[in-house]
């Protein structure tokens, strides 16, 4: 990773990386503004926008009432006129009440208007299970929203990726859904001082290996790395591919790896039926059937509503144990 080689690399938190991306883009382009619940005076419900009100003022860092459908639509209208809104959802779980605006309007306006009105807008916020928040607050929306044409979906797993991808998202002329994780906001990682952008549709091989391909997105990438570490102790070298964006999907990198390993496990925190993992598996079959030595294995959240109990929640989510089991099954070792 280029972050490791840069001379002025610091260790910063995921939330700081997000803040740097937004602040740099706001300094660069006065059309960019940030709007959402508690983003300004409260300094961010999760402190992502801390200090931004002070730097950019209340005309560009804007608190809203609890009206997701309203302010999501406001952002889209503003984007139709050429502004570049960043709309923060406290949680993607709450984006469901804004479904009409974010699914009907943002991704389809350009098409329905015959190429006249685009929507250069970023919706961002926490996705995936938090800590024991119960079903309403534990949505992994990638399974739902990746079904929608016209969208880009970015889902970083490290501070470095988060910053580079968010800057790309803000500069994108099309709508981007940017999926963060409350569980990772405090994670630290290397981020260079120098400006960089990460293009969409380019996966990152987070760990190289020749025995089994593991594909994942967002927070579960860390569980994959944990599993790969343990498997390496048993002499199994996994290649962990972090997709980084779901749409566009870097299927080429995945196919390259599968051609090499012959085995594929896809790890996805959404629910299995019609999931991101299912889509990756289908594309692997379409493109690399002849290279596979076994079927593709999926590790998703269990097909139940997210429970509150810690024990039940842990059992439901993807984790290293499930991934190790899947890799072993895929490789006929279990």
């Amino acid at each position: 990773m280029s972050a490791a080689t840069a001379t002025t690399t610091r260790q910063i938190q995921f939330r700081e990386a997000l803040r740097e991306a937004m602040s740099e883009e706001m300094r660069r382009d006065p059309r960019v503004f940030l709007m959402g619940e508690e983003v300004a005076q409260y300094q961010g419900a999760y402190k992502v926008s801390q200090g931004m009100l002070e730097e950019f003022g209340p005309r560009r860092i804007i608190d809203t009432p609890i009206s997701e459908n309203g302010f999501a639509g406001l952002g889209i209208g503003a984007a139709m006129m050429g502004l570049r809104p960043i709309i923060e959802f406290m949680s993607w779980s709450f984006s469901l009440v804004a479904a009409d605006q974010i699914l009907n309007n943002a991704p389809k306006m350009l098409y329905m208007s015959g190429g006249q009105f685009g929507c250069p807008i970023v919706f961002r916020g926490n996705d995936g299970a938090g800590g024991q928040l119960g079903s309403t607050h534990s949505w992994a929306v990638e399974g739902l929203f990746s079904n929608v044409p016209g969208l880009r979906i970015a889902i970083p797993s490290t501070p470095y990726d988060a910053k580079g991808l968010l800057k790309t998202a803000i500069r994108c002329d099309d709508p981007v859904f940017f999926l963060e994780s409350e569980r990772m906001l405090g994670n630290k990682g290397p981020v260079p001082e120098e400006e960089y952008l990460i293009p969409f549709g380019v996966a990152d091989i987070k760990r190289a290996g020749a025995d089994c391909t593991i594909v994942s997105f967002g927070r579960p990438v860390h569980f994959c790395l944990e599993a790969a570490e343990k498997l390496a102790a048993e002499g199994i070298e996994c290649e962990v591919i972090d997709g980084r964006t779901i749409r566009p999907l870097d299927i080429d990198t995945i196919i390259e790896s599968v051609k090499k390993t012959g085995y594929c496990v896809v790890v996805d925190q959404s629910w299995p039926f019609g999931s991101v993992a299912s889509e990756v598996a289908a594309q692997v079959y379409e493109r690399a059937m002849d290279y596979l030595d076994n079927r593709v294995y999926r590790v998703c959240s269990d097909d139940v509503p997210a429970p509150y109990s810690k024990a039940l929640e842990q059992a439901m989510l993807p984790h290293a144990g499930k991934i190790i089991e899947a890799v072993k099954k895929a490789m006929y070792l279990a």
Partner: protein, 365 residues
């Protein structure tokens, strides 16, 4: 602000030349003729999908848009033909859109309910009831942002039209609250035609007899206009717009109007009486303005007939143009205009043919 007695003369219009009122007459006649031909084309199966005509309501769009500046953003719901034409979209691009042709205002990708015209600051045609209202607030946000953050442009206001049915959508209430707390110059213009599909307003809307309560809940001024009188609409809107522009604040306007035809092309209209429809038709905004202009000596029967002929010709030409406009080509067009920055299967975005023309100035073939 009170309504004029519909049976008496039109409201006098301050500082408006007869020439301008003649233009309003022609605009309303053009919309009427356009939609009569639309209905015909629908019967002939040249138009598919859902199609909602505006016949009877023409004075609303024409009066409001006349009172606004040409660069004030306009947005509305799915009953959008009148607004698009009043804004200056040439009928040919509107008709071609409904015919699903590549020359349509949205290249055949939007249809009757999704007209758009960047040139005339017409932000659509939106088919989810109430869904356009947060967008309208966003347009108003953007005009203010342009003035105050980007320090450019003159003060603008946004005309955000909605039907009475949208009064009961959460989106509208969120939008009005946001416009109020963020102080955005968005005018919520309710075209109250008394019905949402087959539901009379009293059956679906609390306080239907006094919609000023809706405005009061969000601290907005409320205005009312007689939608069967284009001059009354203009008079009210001129004041509303001037004030909203100066104060950069929202307002709520109820225009009392009526649609003569069914909700869409398939509506047996069991929910209202023929007498009720006839009563409104007798009070027709086009006929009334024509009569008033004749009475004041600004129009005579001969000139009126010539005007009728000219709109008939214009719409006939529009239909002919739409018919010869090519069908979109699935191989070339299906995957275009999805995104501005192409990736994967998506091709580039190109503006519709319409955008190559100055509004209202179509080159003759």
């Amino acid at each position: 602000m009170t309504m004029t007695d519909p049976k008496t003369a039109l409201q006098p219009v301050d500082r408006v030349e007869p020439r301008t009122r003649l233009k309003w007459l022609r605009d309303m006649m053009l919309i009427r003729e356009f939609e009569l031909r639309t209905m015909q084309a629908y019967q002939e199966a040249k138009i598919g999908g859902f199609c909602h005509v505006y016949i009877g309501q023409e004075a609303c769009a024409v009066g409001c848009i006349a009172a606004a500046n040409p660069d004030d953003p306009v947005i509305t719901a799915y009953r959008d033909h009148g607004h698009a034409l009043a804004r200056g979209m040439e009928p040919r691009y509107a008709m071609a859109e409904m015919f699903g042709k590549s020359g349509g205002c949205a290249k055949g990708k939007g249809g009757s309910m999704h007209f758009f015209d960047q040139r005339t600051h017409f932000y659509g045609g939106h088919a989810i009831v109430g869904g356009q209202t947060p967008l309208g607030v966003g347009l108003a946000f953007a005009t203010r942002y342009e003035n105050e953050v980007l320090e450019q442009g003159a003060k603008r206001i946004t005309l955000c039209f909605l039907g009475d049915g949208a009064l009961n959508q959460g989106a509208l209430h969120e939008a009005m609250n946001l416009a109020s707390v963020l102080e955005l110059p968005c005018l919520f213009i309710v075209e109250n035609n008394r019905y949402s599909m087959g539901t009379a307003i009293e059956r679906g809307t609390a306080m239907a007899h006094d919609l000023s309560t809706k405005a009061a809940a969000y601290g907005m001024p409320y205005y009312q206009a007689d939608g069967m009188d284009v001059c009354a609409v203009y008079n009210v809107m001129k004041r509303v717009i001037d004030r909203a522009r100066a104060e950069q604040a929202p307002a709520f306007v109820e225009i009392k109007t009526y649609r003569y035809k069914g909700h869409s092309m398939s509506d047996p209209q069991k929910y209202r009486s023929k007498d009720e429809v006839a009563e409104y038709e007798a009070n027709d905004p086009i006929r009334r303005l024509a009569d008033a202009l004749i009475a004041s000596g600004d129009l005579d029967e001969k000139a009126f007939r010539a005007l009728s002929q000219s709109v008939r010709d214009e719409v006939r030409d529009a239909i002919a143009w739409a018919e010869q406009s090519p069908e979109p080509d699935p191989a070339a067009d299906l995957y275009r205009d999805v995104v501005r920055e192409p990736f994967g299967p998506y091709g580039p975005t190109t503006p519709p043919e319409m955008c190559g023309h100055e509004p209202g100035a179509v080159a003759e073939e």
